[in-house]
Amino acid sequence: MSTAAAPSTTESSPAPILEARAVAKTYHLKVGRFKREDVPVLHGVDLGVEPGQWVAILGASGSGKSTLLHLLAGLDRPDSKTEGGVFFESQAVTRFGSRSLDRYRARSVGLVFQFYHLLPELSVVENVLLGAMVRRGRFAYRRAQPEARARATELLESFGLAHRLRHRPSQLSGGERQRVAIARALINDPKVLLADEPTGNLDHDTGQAIIDALAAERERTGRTLVMVTHDPQLASRADRVVHLAEGRIVETSRTEADPS
């Protein structure tokens, strides 16, 4: 039970699984040899994500959506002077040491990027298994290998990629690549899936198919999903849409889950 209730959640809602409290982020740019320029991007973001919730973050390009998502994923740290931070199941992710942070990324969250970010040298199934390999050590992975393989195949099958296991990413279409990336993010069964414009690089229909796949997966597992997009239509599929503008969450709208 979290003692400090996040301002953005109503009193009746359950404790957030992932929460940003007054998260600020300023990039320090080097300009020239001696001058530094501060680029403030986030000015105090408050966002609580309830377990099982699908949250869409809408915002203009450059508004800091990716920055926020990276902070939530523990890939980057917010400005240290702020007393808030990122909390996962009430634990202060921001205070994690580098080892705990690695473990957090490996187990608790899964990340999907706009540009797929698959490793070109590995086959589809190897890309998916990479998550399992990284999570377990060498020997643990050896032991868990059949299990991990079964899960990888199952995931890829559920995304309609059963026949492409041995293919290289370069032999796949964009939509197929993104589905592989989602499968990789899900291999360790994370509690939260973070997707940064998963359809940003795809045409409308393919994007819809990706969102359908995400929705179907969530339907099966009840996974928490935080999705960044700048497409309001896609955002409307989510349980909840928040807007990011001028470094703050400016508006929250709760859409009743649209079954269609």
């Binding site: 690695d102 990324r105 970010h117 990479l130 998550g131 050590g137 990789r184 993010a185």
Partner: protein, 518 residues
């Protein structure tokens, strides 16, 4: 786990690691190649240098010292001495059949004891062997392996340092020159065996006529210069000798400039044999004292050097010290009759007897080679550092190219150490492949260095290994496994060194920045 998979994939799908592995391969190959050849060269030099002079030499050059039999007896009584042999060393001019005069080092040896102290018999070249037999037309193979040939007789002549008279069966004194002295016996570059070929003969008109011949069937003229007790040359003595055999140590410098002759003969020509110092009472035939000879002094036979061979229980230096002790005792009992013993065993120019190890005697030869090896290894070390920077550059480029992969790996939870290990492992793999291939390449080249060198000589007229410079007529072609292992380990080490900095860089790359990398 993912490191192994990625290393394998990176290795097989990129041209960069191939280039890096080739760089490593060439470097290790060059280092091992040069080290093997230079090292083998030194070993050959030491082996041959030692085998021809024994372990320790007691010498009093030019004038020689007397009572050497007594010294040899005393030396041989010592349990650490396997044998000792008297030698007369001098310089001479060897007259060849074609009229050339060749400056040589002449060693008058007592062949029986000399063969005990040194490996004289091994070095005699013309003797029966069981090598590959030549074809009918004499092409290929080892001529000495041919059963019809004078080889047993030549061996007997060589061991007797004389030529057997067909009628009396007695041996008359003969010479054994080094096989490169006259240049009439030629080394076949392919097989390494010596053949005899045309021999130049000086005609009475002064021309040189080439006819087929074989040095052991010919005669050589030896010119020596005896000196009197004050060290002044008397007059040149010239004598012709038959050739009993030829010898080959493979040290070109020795083989091209040394001639063996019987000790007694050398002593006689150099007037080092036993003699009486006399005074003829009168020079006037009408004087009644004419013809009366007064013996003033007896001068025993002398030698310039005694070679000593140890039993192997002591190092040459220890043996030399022991010989010095024995000599001091010997000199105490024969004070005034033999050269003084110095306070220490080897003080050149000090006016005392010189007792040296074979390494000191061959010092010029060995020292030069050791310096050369040190220099070459230093250069190779610099080359290896260069290679290390090359690997560093290649790895730096590879890490840069893979920056996004590092970001991806970190985003799915890979640790800093895990990413660093990925690159170290990659470097290790490239190092392992490169250095093992390099060692294999070097081994192949070294094993076939002589044919390769001869082929280079035939095809491009390139002669890198000139026996006149490198003493040996054959390039050493042995690769010591220890050296190969050290070089492979060194190659691996340099690769790790080269991969270390990029690995650390990869580990400290911020995941977000790595992901943003275009």
């Amino acid at each position: 786990m993912y490191q192994a998979l990625l290393t394998r994939r990176y290795l097989s799908s990129k041209i960069m690691p191939l280039l890096a592995a080739i760089a490593v391969m060439l470097c290790t190959a060059v280092v091992l190649l040069v080290w093997s050849i230079m090292g083998g060269f030194l070993v050959m030099l030491l082996d041959a240098g030692k085998a021809i002079v024994g372990d320790v030499a007691v010498s009093w050059p030019t004038a020689g010292f007397a009572h050497y039999e007594d010294l040899i007896d005393r030396l041989e009584e010592d349990e650490n001495v396997a044998g000792a042999t008297p030698v007369v060393e001098t310089f001479g001019m060897l007259g060849l059949p074609d009229g050339r005069l060749q400056g040589v080092t002449v060693q008058g040896i007592d062949v029986q004891s000399y063969a005990r102290v040194t490996e004289y018999e091994r070095f005699l070249y013309w003797k029966p062997t069981d090598g590959p037999t030549p074809d009918d037309d004499g092409v290929g193979g080892d001529w000495r392996a041919d059963e019809i040939g004078p080889w047993p007789e030549l061996l007997a002549d060589g061991l007797a340092l004389g030529e057997r008279d067909r009628v009396t069966g007695e041996f008359e004194p003969a010479l054994v020159p080094g096989i490169e002295v006259a240049g009439f016996s030629r080394r076949d570059p392919e097989s390494g065996f010596y053949r005899f070929g045309p021999v130049g003969m000086r005609t009475p008109e002064g021309d040189v006529r080439w006819e087929s011949g074989f040095l052991p069937f010919l005669e050589l003229t030896l010119n020596l210069v005896p000196v009197d007790r004050t060290g002044r040359p008397i007059e040149v003595v010239t004598r012709s000798y038959p050739v009993a055999n030829e010898f080959r140590t493979e040290v070109f410098q020795i083989d091209s400039s040394t001639v063996f002759m019987p000790l007694a003969e050398a002593q006689r020509l150099l007037r080092l044999d036993a003699a009486e110092l006399v005074r003829q009472e009168a020079t006037d035939p009408f004087d009644e004292a004419f013809g009366q000879v007064e013996v003033l002094d007896e001068s025993p036979a002398r030698v310039t050097t005694v070679f000593v061979r140890g039993t192997g229980s002591m190092t040459p230096a220890e043996l030399a010290d022991r010989c010095h002790e024995i000599y001091m005792e010997f000199e105490r009992e024969r004070r005034g009759q033999v050269p003084p013993a110095g306070a220490t065993r080897n003080e050149p120019g000090s006016g005392s007897i010189q007792i040296t190890t074979w390494e000191q005697r061959q010092g010029m030869l060995i020292g030069a080679v050791q310096k050369e090896i040190a220099l070459v290894l230093l250069i190779l070390l610099v080359i290896s550092f260069t290679a290390s920077f090359l690997i560093l550059a290649i790895f730096w480029a590879m890490v840069s190219e893979k920056t996004r992969d590092i970001g991806i790996l970190r985003s799915i939870g890979a640790t800093r150490a895990g990413v660093a290990w990925l690159w170290l492992r990659y470097g290790l793999a490239i190092g392992l492949i490169g250095s093992i291939l390099g060692a294999a390449l070097a081994t192949l080249i070294v094993w076939n260095i002589n044919p390769i060198h001869d082929w280079l000589g035939r095809t491009f007229a390139i002669t890198v290994w000139d026996p006149k410079v490198y003493y040996f007529s054959r390039i050493p072609n042995d690769v010591e496994p220890v050296k190969a292992a050290i070089v492979v380990a060194g190659g691996l080490g340099f690769c790790l060194l080269g991969a270390l900095i990029p690995a650390i860089r990869a580990a400290f790359l911020k995941p977000v920045e790595a992901l943003r990398f275009e």
